[in-house]
Symmetry: C2
Subunit: 100 residues, 2 copies
Amino acid sequence: MTESPEDENVFRALADPTRRKILDELTERDGQTLFEICARLAMKHQHTASRQSVSQHLDTLAAAGLVTSRRDGRYKFHYLDTTPLRRLTERWRRPETKET
Amino acid sequence: MTESPEDENVFRALADPTRRKILDELTERDGQTLFEICARLAMKHQHTASRQSVSQHLDTLAAAGLVTSRRDGRYKFHYLDTTPLRRLTERWRRPETKET
DNA sequence: ACCATAGGCAAGTGTTCACTTGCCTATCAA
DNA sequence: TTGATAGGCAAGTGAACACTTGCCTATGGT
């Protein structure tokens, strides 16, 4: 059972608390721009994150396939994609179901 | 939506490839000792990990609640517990289901 | 043309984290 | 008791990673 490189990226992406908060933010409101995400992180999560920091986190999330983006003029909208999460925990499901 | 400290530990525990392989190993054969895990990692995954390294990984997995252990004389058996994985991905499930 | 906004790129910094190293305790067999 | 096995503890090292800093491009409004 060797894992795919994509799975590696997903686990790495989920490891950081700020990135998980970004996913929370996109879950609540999909298609936000970089500035929107920064502002809402600061307000709702009392979490001060710089623009560059959030931008790099979005790159990491994109590498994991968890976030896609679409350019429109000056604006770049970010969208959540939860499909990489589906197979994630299936991996450690026992062959025989273990009950306490 | 603030995450629990236990969830933080679970995400951190899953971030490391060696720890995921240990979970793979315990999925295939539950209740292994430290030395068994080391030996099987080396054989099956061509992954050379020292005893101390694996021991520290088991501590991290235990802190996440993913592994429990039971002492019996000289031996300490390690058991997989997948319950912390259940709620993990539910968090980012959209209110409206997004397709493609 | 100008300026402000939205975002990108890349080098540098500091912290976290995995792994090693060395020594220690505990159990079991002879 | 002696030796071997199974595991633990803690300080030190090196690399990965999050974040900053400084400067750049591009779009839109006036």
